[in-house]
């Protein structure tokens, strides 16, 4: 290799746009891996004109990968930069294994941060603001919901890809080494937990309607529970469900169990009819 092969704006743009199809082929064994490889194709084809080299690169990327979608461009940027480095490095000076290990090192922490931010925070804030407006028939609620989700995710994608390609690996190694990454992950977890705690009373309800007449005085179960602590049953239910999910009980099974429970408790008069 005499002339250095450089990725141009054209290939990089193609890779960026293909990042939107990161879940285009979600398989149980490789998760986003196949789609990640598909996104890289424009860069790999440019860097490795020799089919043997290209095949080697494809084998390298035909592996499991999974993270929060909005962070996929950041990872792709880093992979592009590293593949470019490898393609131009003299024989034996650059271990291609490091390309895969950086990918794998990235996906876990990024998924932890990303799920807290995008599923746990932006979406929740957008829903908190947008859904009540929409439920009252105001189109503005829908517009706000879209903006509050699309804006942070689009910015993360565009700047993440740039940052990843231009030295993201050094940046990441630095914040990982000095402990900033761990701090950010933990701070994101804390944010997520506060939000999730607040979601319990907002979205879970246990509609007890049991009333008993006992010699003149009436016993209203909901009032008794309320005087112990409001939202007590939703909290207990959420914690119990979490316990079973943690134990590996499938979500589908839990869905059917709760449906059955709802019908059963309605039939025995614990829950209201109508």
């Amino acid at each position: 290799m005499t002339n250095p092969v450089q990725l141009s704006k054209k290939e990089l743009n193609k890779v960026f746009w293909r990042s939107y199809q990161a879940l285009g082929c979600y398989t149980y064994d490789k998760q986003q891996g196949i789609s990640y490889m598909r996104a890289l194709l424009p860069a790999l084809q440019k860097l490795y004109p020799d089919p043997e080299d290209l095949k080697e690169a494809l084998i390298r990327h035909n592996v499991m990968f999974n993270t929060t979608c909005a962070f996929v461009p950041f990872c792709l940027g880093i992979t592009c930069a590293m593949e470019e480095e490898y393609a131009n490095a003299p024989e034996g000076t650059f271990d291609p294994q490091s390309i895969s290990s950086v990918k794998i090192a990235l996906m876990g922490p990024l998924a932890g941060i990303g799920d807290s931010f995008f599923w746990g925070t932006f979406r929740v804030i957008a829903c908190g603001i947008g859904a009540p407006l929409a439920a009252a028939g105001n189109l503005l609620g829908v517009v706000l919901y879209l903006l509050l989700n699309l804006l942070p995710s689009t910015l993360t994608r565009v700047y993440g890809f740039k940052l990843g390609y231009q030295g993201g690996r050094e940046f990441l190694a630095k914040i990982q080494a000095d402990g900033t990454l761990e701090k950010v992950t933990e701070a994101a977890k804390i944010l997520g937990l506060v939000v999730i705690g607040g979601l319990v009373p907002a979205i879970v309800a246990v509609p007890v309607s049991l009333e008993l007449n006992m010699g003149g005085g009436s016993f209203i179960l909901a009032d008794v529970l309320n005087s112990i602590m409001p939202n007590l049953l939703p909290l207990i239910l959420s914690v119990v469900v979490y316990h079973y999910i943690q134990k590996g009980v499938s979500v589908n099974k839990l869905l059917f169990l709760l449906l059955g429970l709802g019908i059963l408790l309605t039939a025995v008069g614990f829950f209201p009819m109508g």
């Binding site: 990042s19 199809q21 990161a22 285009g24 082929c25 979600y26 398989t27 149980y28 196949i34 490889m37 598909r38 194709l41 290209l54 494809l58 084998i59 035909n62 999974n66 979608c69 799920d115 599923w119 746990g120 979406r123 929740v124 829903c127 908190g128 929409a134 439920a135 609620g141 829908v142 919901y145 995710s153 701090k183 994101a188 977890k189 804390i190 937990l193 506060v194 939000v195 705690g197 607040g198 979601l199 319990v200 009373p201 309800a205 246990v206 509609p207 469900v241 979490y242 943690q246 979500v251 589908n252 839990l254 869905l255 059917f256 709802g262 408790l265 309605t266 039939a267 009819m273 109508g274």
Partner: protein, 246 residues
């Protein structure tokens, strides 16, 4: 009628592949899909109302990782039927829940088939250095999902406006009200999934804080999220970095 069914099917197909082809930007949700249905069927306002209502009910149902819970088919079918066949919003919501359950079973099935077929096709393509094939397998999951959702929801809609009302009426009251009551319990599953990803006894106090704010102070979701940001900020500022620890 056929045209309406096609439009409803298209929204359902789009809703399912939003995550596959359009980056999973958290918008394949009732609030946006029902609005689209309303727009296409000529009653934007009803679409917005049922979308907002379902969004509030399903706020905690999120698709993290391979969790099969889904909100697309229920949202699309329910809003379409509310708009075209005069169901009330409440009846539409009650209908959306069993539909969503059936769809999540269907989803699990398609995902398994997808996984097996696309994985082996890709392995063969890598072996032959067939980049065209990888282009296709890399988005292939979306194609299959789109077709299945388009067909199933369009057919459901066509059967629905005639038959679903009768089906709902024929359901015994205990089951009908039981399902409505159960739908209030179901968001606990969403909470459980989110906790699985974030819960740690070290930070349990923050979960408790989030729970207590609306319970005793009546704070809204927005206020809780902002308080969470403040907590995260304080933690970030005061926690020394690992290398500064002694």
């Amino acid at each position: 009628m056929i045209l309406q069914a096609i439009l409803v099917g298209l929204v359902a197909g789009y809703g399912r592949i939003e995550q596959s082809w359009f980056g999973q930007q958290m918008i394949a949700r009732p609030i946006w899909l029902c609005t689209l249905v309303g727009l296409l069927l000529g009653d934007l306002k009803q679409g917005v109302i049922i979308g907002g209502t379902l969004e509030l009910i399903w706020a905690g149902v999120v698709q993290i990782g391979a969790a099969p819970t889904e909100v697309v088919s229920g949202s699309v079918l329910a809003s379409a039927l509310v708009i075209t066949s005069g169901l009330t919003v409440e009846e539409g919501v009650a209908l959306a829940i069993p539909v969503a359950l059936l769809a999540s079973v269907m989803n699990t099935f398609i995902s398994s088939v997808n996984s097996a077929v696309l994985s082996s096709l890709t392995n063969k393509a890598v072996e032959n250095c067939d980049t065209k094939m990888i282009w296709w397998t890399g988005i292939g999951g979306g194609i299959i999902y789109f077709i299945v959702y388009f067909v199933v929801i369009a057919l459901g809609f066509m059967a629905g406006s005639v038959a679903i009302q009768a089906v709902i009426d024929s359901i015994p009251g205990v089951v009908r009200y039981g399902l409505t009551n159960a739908s209030k319990l179901l968001p606990a599953i969403g909470i459980g999934i989110l906790l699985k990803f974030t819960f740690d006894w070290k930070y349990a106090g923050f979960f408790a804080l989030g729970f207590l704010l609306p319970t005793y102070l009546g704070m809204g979701t927005m206020g809780v999220a902002l308080t969470g940001l403040v907590c995260a900020y304080i933690y970030y500022q005061f926690k020394p970095r690992a290398e500064e620890d002694d």
